[in-house]
């Protein structure tokens, strides 16, 4: 004990405690939502009857169908990565480092597909490239015939290896693009200028200087690509089934929904295996990402010189536009057209188009409920998850060191768990005694919060990283306590980043299929549930109407979110008064 006189206002300012309490509560809640289901799954897989029992593992792993599914999953993941990474990096280079970009708009072009739920893109492509009724099938066949090639229409089917890979790639490119574009924008332009001065051509410059300079980001994007391919469900569920190409995610879904009684045990075992595999990959990815730098918002803007593409400028732009057409415009158009038709057919007759499907759709109580539930859920979960991620990212940055690292690990844990597996965990944990949440919207909410936390916190951490440390330090130097620093400096500066994250997650929640398949039912329908049942029933016009609605709602919401938080800094940060 020391006898120093207490100087209360100089030691331990009181407001830190309130913040600590709030953050502690958030962390505890997040821990519970993530790790309770996880623990339940592990317990069921390893100790099914209270003792270590591996007979379940033997039964699971001996299925020949499983081997086939694993092989397919691996092929898809590798081929997708090999194609999507170069394409995404190339697009990022075009937009960030060359004069192929035009205005701020071109920065958005490659990420437009992120704003359309993958399930809407998939349904759109089904309508486009179905061998019999697809809008592109007949014209393409004619075109090939004109070239003297007589091709069987089924060779052009989207329900094939080619189609699956195409859609996987279209889905993955924007994810690669986002990572690569961030790396390019922080790359010192003089590296490339030097290469040009020493006489390298444009392509040579891209291959020998720009690409190697961001190799960390490329490695990181590749792993991201592999991981997301493993967990992808909507594309193989809607297209792979017809092509008889099963993948792991669909296999797990079948174990739960196509078997009676549901083989929860086997699903759980596969879930654990996937968790371990993805977890290892993810650790590697984090290793690489940690050594990759971040661009920062500082006091000064750098305007790098862009490489002039000359005659290649327009071809490059057309390529970007073509990509947007393939991922967004064409599928959306197909959706609209089919939704206006009475039955899906390749011939469009204007006089037969009507909004009948929408009216019919809206008149069903179940569909109405699904849309209302999904919209409310999407707004609620997205807002919650983004706020949680934002607070945790800021706290992590402020405390730094080991705590920051562990907060990062905590928030990313769900990304190592396929949604469908996690949904099973949530169902088993919260669905029955003592919570009895089965059939409520709240159980879906819980699942979504955990499942989308990784994306939200990646967006939030990137946003927080971008706010230069000195901006925050300056606030404290000028007398602002951490709370005020948060509200007046950190939050307004990361808001654009959070809004972008919000928009991305909103679209994912609206079109979410996995958790919906497990947790939603007639009592708590959501859009994902509706999509699966419409698809199973073969009511394609209704499906198209639903896809159109998702597309339009997502588009409007995302646009509004991005407008709301445009980083133009024209809105007041509240610096003028208290």
């Amino acid at each position: 004990m020391t006898a120093t006189v207490a100087e209360p206002n100089e030691i331990a300012p009181p407001r830190y405690r309130a913040i600590t309490f709030v953050v502690g509560a958030i962390v505890a809640a997040v821990l519970a939502v993530i790790f309770l289901p996880l623990a339940t799954i592990l317990q069921r897989a390893l100790l099914p009857n209270g003792a270590l029992d591996l007979s379940l593992w033997a039964a699971t792993l001996s299925q020949p169908d499983l081997h086939y599914a694993i092989r397919n999953t691996l092929i898809l993941a590798v081929v997708t990565t090999v194609i999507a990474v170069p394409v995404g990096v190339f697009f990022a280079w075009l937009v960030e480092r060359t004069d192929a970009r035009w205005g701020a708009l071109s920065r958005l072009l490659p990420v437009i597909p992120l704003l359309l739920p993958p399930v809407a893109m998939t349904i759109g492509w089904l309508f486009l490239a179905d061998p019999r009724a697809g809008f592109l099938a007949a014209p393409m066949q004619t075109a090939f015939r004109a070239m003297g090639l007589d091709i069987d229409p089924s060779a052009l089917a989207v329900q094939s290896w080619g189609g699956l890979i195409l859609l996987y790639v279209l889905f993955s490119v924007p994810h690669v693009y986002v990572v690569a574009a961030a790396a390019f924008s922080s790359l010192d332009p003089s590296l490339e200028e030097a290469a040009r001065i020493f006489g390298k051509g444009r392509l040579k410059c891209f291959l020998s200087v720009s690409m190697p300079a961001i190799r960390h980001a490329i490695g990181s994007a590749s792993l991201l690509c592999i991981i997301s391919s493993f967990g992808l469900y909507s594309i193989p569920a809607l297209l792979g089934t017809a092509a008889r190409i099963d993948v792991l995610s669909v296999y797990i879904y079948r174990l739960l929904n196509a078997a009676y009684p549901p083989k929860i045990g086997q699903a759980v075992v596969l879930g654990v295996l996937l968790i371990v595999t993805i977890g290892l990959l993810w650790l590697a990815q984090r290793r690489i990402a940690a050594s990759t730098g971040h661009a920062q918002i500082g006091g000064m803007g750098i305007r790098p010189n862009r490489i002039a593409l000359g005659a290649w400028r327009w071809p490059a732009r057309i390529m970007l536009l073509l990509y947007v057409a393939l991922t967004s415009i064409l599928p959306l158009l197909a959706l609209f057209v089919v939704s206006l038709q009475q039955f899906w057919r390749p011939l469009v007759r204007l006089d037969q188009l009507s909004f009948e499907n929408f009216f019919e759709f809206w008149s069903t109580a179940q569909s109405r409920a699904a849309i209302v539930n999904s919209s409310l859920l999407a707004v609620l979960t997205t807002t919650c998850v983004v706020l949680i991620a934002g607070v945790l990212a800021i706290v992590g940055k402020n405390v730094g060191g080991k705590w920051e690292k562990w907060l990062g690990v905590l928030t990313k844990t769900p990304s190592a768990i396929p949604h469908i597996v996690f949904a099973v965990g949530v169902l088993v944990t919260f669905g029955f005694a003592p919570f009895f949440l089965n059939g409520t919207w709240f159980i879906i909410f819980l699942c979504y919060v955990a499942v989308f936390l990784p994306q939200a916190s990646i967006a939030a951490e990137a946003a927080v990283q971008q706010v230069g440390g000195q901006l925050v330090e300056a606030s404290r130097i000028f007398g602002a306590r951490p709370g005020r620093t948060f509200w007046t400096v950190q939050l307004p500066l990361i808001l654009p980043g959070l809004a972008a994250g919000w928009a991305l997650i909103f679209t994912l929640v609206v079109g979410e299929l996995n958790a919906a398949a497990i947790l939603a039912g007639p009592r708590n329908p959501v859009i994902g549930y509706l999509i699966l049942s419409l698809f199973d029933n073969g009511t394609y016009s209704q499906l198209a109407a639903l896809g159109s609605i998702i597309g339009v709602v997502s588009g409007i919401t995302v646009f509004a979110a991005l407008m709301f938080a445009r980083p133009r800094f024209s809105s007041s940060g509240g610096g003028g008064g208290d």
Partner: protein, 381 residues
């Protein structure tokens, strides 16, 4: 350090025994090594040194952005950090102003909001008329009329003046400057320095200023602290540091200096005789008492060397050496002449344009280099 006796001043910042070690798994690096420093009220102390010498760590420790391992810091007589008493006030309670290297203006706030920010953190009774105060300080800094703009709409120099306005407005006890001018171009930097000196004159703020630019340091410093590996090597006025550096490191950091290995032949309290490869010279008032046999360095600033045709001005008692002109470089206001000294060694002399124009030295010609009286310095080992 000896300092002229002045009236007792109040101390704005007092630093005692400050030490900060950065530890990583592989090794630990001493950032600041047992530094003592006083900043009097109204005094601007400039910390000068190369990157990695600990000057920024010292500044950030005063700001409260770093937590030192040992020592004590008080600001305005209030202990803000004490390792032994386990006290560390957060930066917001230290009542400081600061200019950052990156400006650190908040991009989402207007100039007005940026400048008013320190006031709105204050107790309302101390705040006064915010609008009038912001306008006043902006006018003084020449950024009035920009209040509704965003920082991104201003030039670098204007942004830096806004940052200065923000640092000044709260009338802080001390203003900290973290290389604030390193990001603006040379011309703007010169103007901002002038402006900073004028402001210093008007408002008499106390401050600590970190820079690696010796010209900037000498122009702004009331007191100059030259730092090396976490320690303050010399602490004195700019003039004293330049004219009587206490070692080769300091002499070389604040300007150019000719230097040669030398050995003390004889010495007394006020002067010493030292021998070099090309002659023996007397050094007046060495910075420490020397004893015969000590080896070290003899130095002379190039502008204190004049050149003459061999044998001319023989009446002058100033020491001289003979050599051959090796190179003449015209630099505008001055002319740099390099001379190979007979007997080994090289020497550099700066001649002002007026002098060199009258009798330009010729490469290859024999020449006498004359060291001005008292210009020869003992620069230690």
């Amino acid at each position: 350090m000896l300092k002229e006796p002045t009236a007792p001043k109040t101390v704005a910042v007092q630093i005692r025994g400050l030490r900060k070690v950065y530890r990583s798994r592989a090794r630990s690096v001493v950032g600041v090594d047992h530094v003592d420093l006083d900043v009097a009220a109204g005094e601007l102390v400039v910390l000068l040194g190369p990157s990695g010498c600990g000057k920024t760590t010292l500044l950030r420790s005063v700001a409260g952005l770093e937590t030192p391992d040992e020592g004590e810091i008080s600001i305005d007589g209030r202990v803000v950090f004490s390792a032994s008493r386990k006290r560390a006030l957060p930066p917001e309670d230290r009542h400081l102003g600061m200019m950052f290297q990156s400006y650190a203006l908040w991009p989402h706030m207007t100039v007005f909001q940026n400048v008013a920010y320190p006031l709105s953190s204050m107790d309302p009774s101390l705040r006064g008329d915010v609008r009038a105060r912001v306008h006043d300080v902006c006018t003084r800094l020449g950024v009035a009329g920009f209040e509704e703009r965003f920082p991104s709409e201003l030039s670098g120099g204007q942004q830096q003046r806004v940052a200065l306005a923000r640092a000044l407005i709260g009338k802080p006890s001390v203003i900290l400057f973290d290389e604030p001018l390193s990001n603006v171009d040379a011309k703007v930097r010169r103007r901002l320095r002038q402006q900073l000196r004028d402001l210093k004159h008007e408002t008499n703020f106390s401050g600590i200023y970190v820079t690696h630019d010796q010209e900037e340091a000498m122009e702004l410093a009331d007191t100059l602290a030259v730092m090396e590996s976490g320690k303050i090597r010399q602490l004195a006025s700019s003039r004293e540091v330049y004219q009587r550096p206490n070692g080769l490191y300091v002499a070389g950091f604040v300007g150019e200096v000719n230097h040669w290995p030398a050995e003390v032949v004889e010495a007394n309290e006020t002067s010493a005789l030292v021998r070099t490869g090309f002659g023996t010279f007397r050094v007046e008032n060495p910075p420490e008492v020397l004893s015969p046999g000590r080896t070290g360095t003899l130095g002379v600033r190039p502008e204190r060397v004049s050149l003459a045709t061999p044998g001319a001005d023989a009446a002058s008692a100033d020491p001289r050496v003979r050599g051959r002109v090796k190179e003449v470089v015209f630099l505008g206001a001055r002319c740099e002449v390099r001379v190979d000294i007979d007997g080994g060694g090289e020497l550099m002399a700066w001649l002002f344009e007026a002098v060199s124009h009258r009798s330009p030295p010729v490469v290859g010609a024999q020449i006498d280099a004359i060291f001005e009286a008292t210009s020869l310095q003992w620069l230690g080992p």
